[in-house]
Subunit: 152 residues, 2 copies
Amino acid sequence: MTLLSPIDGLVDKLRDQGFKITHPRYQVIERVADRDANFTAEELAAELAPVGRATVYRTIKLLVDQGLLCRVVLGDGSICYRSSHLAHHHHLVCLSCGATEDVHLSDVEAVIDRVRGATSYEVVSHRIEVYGFCPRCKGFQSEADITHLHLH
Amino acid sequence: MTLLSPIDGLVDKLRDQGFKITHPRYQVIERVADRDANFTAEELAAELAPVGRATVYRTIKLLVDQGLLCRVVLGDGSICYRSSHLAHHHHLVCLSCGATEDVHLSDVEAVIDRVRGATSYEVVSHRIEVYGFCPRCKGFQSEADITHLHLH
DNA sequence: GCAAGGATGAGACTCCATCTCAATAAGTTA
DNA sequence: TAACTTATTGAGATGGAGTCTCATCCTTGC
Ligand SMILES: [Mn+2]
Ligand SMILES: [Mn+2]
Ligand SMILES: [Zn+2]
Ligand SMILES: [Zn+2]
């Protein structure tokens, strides 16, 4: 009897959509599926060494589209990724070390709906990142770190 | 009697902080202060032609720090700038053309406060961009545009 | 098996941003 | 005004992230 890994579902879903499950692609999925820490595309490419950089970038994009990964915008604007739990959520990001937690911002939908009612734009999505200092970095921030924050 | 332009306040503030008001720097401020449309660093550098690119980038950073400009993250992750009205606000960004409106998200602070109470992070800031299609782009979006949105 | 078409990857390339460092200009002091 | 101190400038190099090309390879369905 085969043990059904959480990856299998995704693999089937991809095949259904006409994507081929190649070895390099599978390696990327494997490495990424169960991570709890953030990682950059470049880090992942380095880890997966013999797999081509282009393939890693292409696969990350694919996995973001498929909802397995989500992009995180760090305080300095740089990008990293983390495995997604699929339900809509947002990010709490450490300005110092980049450590990230998923947060559910209750009632955000209500806030967004109010925008929807007040604008002529057709609102389809939003991005929220909450920034701060994680327990480990708390107390080490300098004045400068904080006074340089104009994120909106 | 001298007419007090809105730029003068900033110039004084900068001088107070020990920054020198050089000609190139002043030119950047002038070009940027009253804009209503978004612009990229590269566009600004091109417009200000003889002013060095490095100087334009440095000055933009300075003005973001000083609160005269704010960074906008477009749907594709690229960056542009717009003059800021200083009060805390967020952005409503067109996924198609990048047109941006400032929006005040009422009650966001309450939502953020709830995060503050529920995490061990020290929350200091946040970034919110609401994405959609502006009146002019509405109706032109393809399925693809929308299904590729995993912004959180 | 085989064929068809998607996927790969080395390397070139683009874009954005920052760095270096010698030359220059702003502000200060006398 | 002249000298002085120091921040600023800018040409060009450099770095980093991501994309593109295209000949070759692999997966899948038949
Ligand atoms: Mn996430
Ligand atoms: Mn703004
Ligand atoms: Zn941290
Ligand atoms: Zn638009």
